[in-house]
Amino acid sequence: MDFISILSIFVMACFVGYYVVWSVTPALHTPLMAVTNAISSVIIVGALIAAAAAGVPGAKWLGLIAVVLASVNIFGGFAVTARMLAMYKKKEKKA
């Protein structure tokens, strides 16, 4: 893909982000931060490419460490978000 196509996707995604985030209820702002944190670890894609490539040992090791760090975030981020969201309950109707 050329630079202009990528830039277009980026700018569009910023607008999508703007509208989607304003629609998030303030009560869920903490889970929002936790989940954005988890998804920003999609940077693991770059880490995997580096870790999978042979030829330059230094780059490979940096990639592997980055895979560990990003995995901590992915698993930790989604798990803690799920834990928080499970706590939001409506009032139970008492019999």
Partner: protein, 494 residues
């Protein structure tokens, strides 16, 4: 462009699908009912992105042989095992932490997670710099594309700022470091100088003729400067401004991911980076707005120092008469009220009083009292922190209201029960132009027939260092004790 990158069409579509899953993950958070499904979309998106990457770049694949100028191929079983072990280690650490962490410690955890994203971005950028062939960003002369050089150095710099800034934010939130701002002389000059240096060196790096893999040391200098500036930016910011800082670092971690997405021409990373970047920016804006402060003044730092810049003269305030109540008095007032609005603040979280508070509310409800909660946007140490703590204590979320939704109801309330909050109720924000918190939206607790304040002692104003004159009003009763202890006593008295 002559990229060596040979990402197949299906993989591009898979990355796009992952990006859409991430949009749906955030979209789900518009209400608690849809939020859990949203989180699952996020996990699916991540799985798609990781699986696609492993299939396209399977270990040993597309290895660019510089000598032969061709692509060598073949699955490298050992490399695959290494990657799976790395993911396993990360998963074990991540899941254990997520399971064990106390909800009160959520701001620290988020700051720590941000630092990891930042560091991962730096490492990925460094790996791309050392082995650009693997990322498909080498031109025929063996140089890294100039555009890619800018993108990778930006990714590394933003990542480094996110990392060192988050480490400081973590240390301040976790109490490893004093929350008081550390003010260096001429710090604005120093920071501007470093930022300028980063920009100039980035330009030199992009324009340089020597740009082979790992060749130009400018990359490392910029990264090191960025680490330094992240550190310098956060140390002058006081503990009370941490909600803004954490949101801002959230935003940075997104921009770092986006920059690396540009390097890799990866739509999933670009969409995610943009989403996270906007999300953090909007949260920072909301936090600043709720404190009536400009983003610039928060970033410039220095607020919330122990010295205090309070407009009101505090000397002699301790001698002013106020009404002091006991748990029995409070229980009596609450029991005979029709409508009670509870205003929790950070003090409640510190005292871990949320569970016993919910017991008190349930007890009152059984006696026919209407109990609701009012939350100020900056209550707690991160956006939405109070809501999570109340949810943890099993407070139903439809009883919890935001400032704009409940503020006009204080007039009809019999009791406003303020627990561990101060500045967010201070009427000086509405009337006293000299007050440092003037203009900040506050909860109108004084409109309730009676206002109860639970506070440890009369000394010690809120973080803004401002005296709250509500404490001395006729319809205010001060309950001076540890919040948890006091609420327990009220429950007993009920």
């Amino acid at each position: 462009m002559d990229h060596v990158s040979t990402t197949p069409a299906w993989a591009m579509i898979a990355y796009l699908a992952a990006g859409i899953c991430f949009i749906l993950a955030l979209r789900g958070l518009s209400s608690p009912e849809t939020s859990r499904q949203g989180n699952r979309y996020g996990m699916i998106g991540m799985l798609v992105a990781v699986a696609t990457t492993l299939i396209v770049h399977y270990p040993g694949a597309a290895l660019y042989d510089e000598a032969a100028g061709t692509l060598a191929d073949g699955l490298d079983g050992l490399a695959l095992a290494e990657i799976l072990i790395a993911i396993g280690i990360g998963a074990a650490i991540g899941l254990t932490t997520a399971r064990r962490i106390a909800m009160t410690a959520m701001p620290q955890l988020v700051a720590a997670f941000h630092s990891l994203v930042g560091l991962a971005a730096v490492l990925v950028a460094a790996a791309a710099f050392l082995n650009p062939g693997a990322f498909g960003i080498l031109d025929q002369t063996g140089n890294i594309f100039a555009v890619s050089r800018v993108e990778m150095v930006l990714g590394a710099a933003i990542g480094a700022i996110t990392f060192s800034g988050s480490v400081i934010a973590f240390a301040k939130l976790n109490g490893n470091m004093s929350g008081a701002p550390i003010i260096l002389p001429a710090r604005h000059l120093i920071n501007f100088g470093i930022l300028l240096g980063i920009i100039v060196l980035t330009a030199l790096f992009a324009l340089s003729a020597s740009a082979g893999p790992g060749e130009n040391q400018m990359f490392w200098i910029v990264t090191a400067l960025a680490f330094l500036v992240g550190f310098l930016l956060i140390i002058p910011i006081g503990g009370a401004d941490m909600p803004v800082v954490v949101s801002m670092l959230n935003s940075y971690s997104g921009w770092a991911a986006a920059a690396m997405g540009f390097t890799l021409s990866n739509t999933a990373m670009i969409i995610t980076g943009a989403l996270v970047g906007s999300s953090g920016a909007i949260l920072s804006y909301i936090m600043c707005h709720a404190m009536n402060r400009s983003f610039i003044s928060v970033i410039a730092g220095g607020f919330g120092s122990d010295a205090g810049s309070g407009g009101a003269d505090k000397s002699g305030a301790a001698d002013r008469p106020f009404k002091r109540g006991s748990a029995d008095d409070a229980a009596f007032l609450l029991k005979n009220a029709e409508k009670v609005i509870i205003v929790p603040g950070y003090g409640m979280a510190v005292a871990q009083a949320q569970h016993v508070l919910r017991e008190m509310a349930e007890e009152l409800e059984e006696q026919g009292v209407d109990v609701r909660y009012a939350i100020h946007p900056v209550a707690g140490r991160m956006p939405g922190h109070m809501n999570v703590l109340l949810a943890e204590a099993n407070v139903p979320y439809d009883k919890v209201f935001e400032l704009e939704d409940i503020n006009s109801d204080f007039g009809q309330a019999d009791v406003a029960f303020v627990i561990g909050a101060n500045d967010v109720t201070n009427p000086a924000a509405k009337t006293d132009k000299a007050s440092p918190i003037y203009g900040m939206p506050v909860l109108d607790v004084e409109n309730a027939k009676t206002t109860l304040f639970i506070k440890r002692s009369m000394g010690g104003a809120g973080y803004a260092g401002v005296e709250n004159e509500l404490f001395f009003r006729d319809n205010t009763m001060m309950l001076l004790a540890d919040a948890k202890k006091m609420v327990e006593d009220i429950v007993k008295a009920l």
